[in-house]
Point group: C2
Chain length 137, copies 2
Amino acid sequence: MTAFALDPTLHADTIEITTLPLCVARLMNDRRFPWVILVPSRPDVSEIIDLDTADRARLIEEVALVSTVMRELFRPTKLNVGALGNVVAQLHVHVIARFANDGAWPGPAWGTTPERYRHDEIDRTLAPLRGRLAGRA
Amino acid sequence: MTAFALDPTLHADTIEITTLPLCVARLMNDRRFPWVILVPSRPDVSEIIDLDTADRARLIEEVALVSTVMRELFRPTKLNVGALGNVVAQLHVHVIARFANDGAWPGPAWGTTPERYRHDEIDRTLAPLRGRLAGRA
């Protein structure tokens, strides 16, 4: 049994928000949409069914918490939730605030080219997420 | 309060597999990959957070059931799970068996062009799914 360690690609593409009971919550470095990933801090997990039933219940509730916070903060047209893992196998669940006027709408955000946040703007997205999520759950 | 009715576009694009305690399970009519959608049979639901906590726990367990069956039957490289709803707002969760040699790999299946099953081949995918899922849960 190995310890949990965040995949290096996920680490490089994201910024830490906070740690929830099951998952680490990180902001995708893509200024096109508010985009959070939840990574269950369990070793050797790539599919939802690699988690046990109790952790699956925790996962859906952490997805719900992040969804609620993102809906309140960003008022998106639609939330997109997904666990793909075709490129990075470590289980990570995306929660993305999508807008009818975003450049990828109505297609998926996955498989498109990210635009990095400018240094002076990331805190506008990161700080309210951290404020609402840190210490919750 | 309106009654649950399956969205007409979802109905047209899919074939019934079976009915689970929370969701109707339907096969996407796309021969490129085994692709199931789960539609919670609750009215007026477009986001996961429109379900209550008990239904969210049912949803993740039905996703897990379908995932387990699809992994057993099709031995995919990766399962892709997602709830988008940018085109059809009624909440529906995709569970897709993806393969490293499928035409969309490693990109998402969503936003690509489906290929309909030929009449004589659909039962090879549909029948084993129905056999494993009907009467489960």
